[in-house]
Amino acid sequence: MAADEARAGMGAAGAGAAPHGHPAPAIAFLLFGMLFALLLSKAGATTYDYYAALFLFRDLQLMWVIGAGALTGALLIALLRAAGARVWWGGGRVEPAGKPMRRGLLPGALLLGLGWGLAGACPGTVLVMAGEGKTSALWTIAGVGLGTWLYGLLARGRAVEPEATVDNQANAPASAAPPPSPGV
């Protein structure tokens, strides 16, 4: 990951540093996933009781994790944008699109929150928990898959609002016109 960081730094240094121009390879995502898992584990996000303790207001560990994470990310991403940084794999400017407002957002968020409290895990952390050897996570993973599947079957053929899980408006080569952003 140190190599990624150094190369990303070079790529985004701007003038003269030629970015790759092609998308990140699968192995990069696999390694990023492993690193993310390590950080989630160290942050306590793979320990069931931190969730219960948070919602009972007994231990705000995970509140700090989310708060400090969002704040750090906000500052660093603002810096990247201000500096006109370019994506290392892909070459476009760092210009992430936020998820759009949609009608189901709040009820969906509440439903997800109820499941979060019941299972003591998120869609991401539960995968890490399974890797750590926590057997309960397997039931939750099966449930998330089932719920997702169910939604997909019900949404089929319906005119649903775009999820726009689109990532970077400038994931295309820098020379190309920015693709239409479904998020806006």
Binding site: A8, A24, I27, G33, A37, L38, K42, A43, G44, T47, Y48, A52, A53, D59, Q61, I66, G69, T72, G73, L76, W89, G92, V94, G98, K99, M101, L105, G108, A109, L111, L112, L114, G115, W116, G117, L118, A119, P123, G124, L127, A130, G131, E132, S136, I141, A142, G143, V144, G145, L146, G147, L150, G152, L153, E163, A164, D167, N168, A170, N171
Partner: protein, 176 residues
């Protein structure tokens, strides 16, 4: 009193202070975006998996699906979890316990507990698709992008979690 909770949480071992874990995750989110141009997010990987298994909705590119990288990223999580456990003080082991609080709040019988966890998971799965993302996409990345809908979603996640755990705690008669 917080002694029981503190005891339960000490069992987690070598966990970093919350602020440090948060800063590390914030740096990670930024590097991930910078390197790959992708915004962090996990729940749609379940959609990609369903798409690969033939659910047509999850192949719709107009819905933001059809992104194979999500499966690779998600596949890294259990691997990283195994590494985290191996590197930890206690090493990797099969753990059936969910910790003091959840053990006292959820049914003890295996089948009942499995059903409860699967139900919780199903709520997570449906809810994440309705909301267009989960905690990683809305709370970590979305808040870092200062995206208003993600703030609404994050508040919704917390309200749901508080209602459920306060309710479970009261109904189960568990004590702290």
């Amino acid at each position: 009193m917080g002694d029981a909770a503190a005891g339960a949480l000490q069992a987690a071992g070598d966990v970093w202070p919350g602020w440090l874990g948060g800063v590390a995750i914030g740096v990670f989110t930024t590097l991930f975006l910078w390197a790959t141009g992708r915004v962090l997010g996990l729940s749609s990987a379940y959609g990609e998996a369903c798409g690969a298994l033939g659910v047509g909705y999850f192949r719709r590119t107009d819905q933001g699906f059809g992104q194979r990288w999500r499966l690779w990223f998600a596949a890294g999580l259990p691997l990283g979890g195994a590494v985290a456990a191996l590197l930890g003080a206690e090493g990797w082991s099969v753990q059936t316990s969910m910790g003091t609080l959840y053990e006292s709040m959820l049914p003890a019988q295996d089948a009942a507990r499995a059903a409860v966890l699967a139900l919780g998971g199903a709520c997570i799965g449906v809810g994440a698709r309705m909301a267009g993302g989960c905690q990683s996409g809305h709370s970590i990345a979305g808040l870092a992008l200062l995206n208003p809908p993600s703030l609404v979603a994050s508040i919704g996640f917390f309200v749901g979690g508080i209602v459920m755990v306060q309710g479970l705690f009261a109904l189960s008669g568990a004590t702290l």
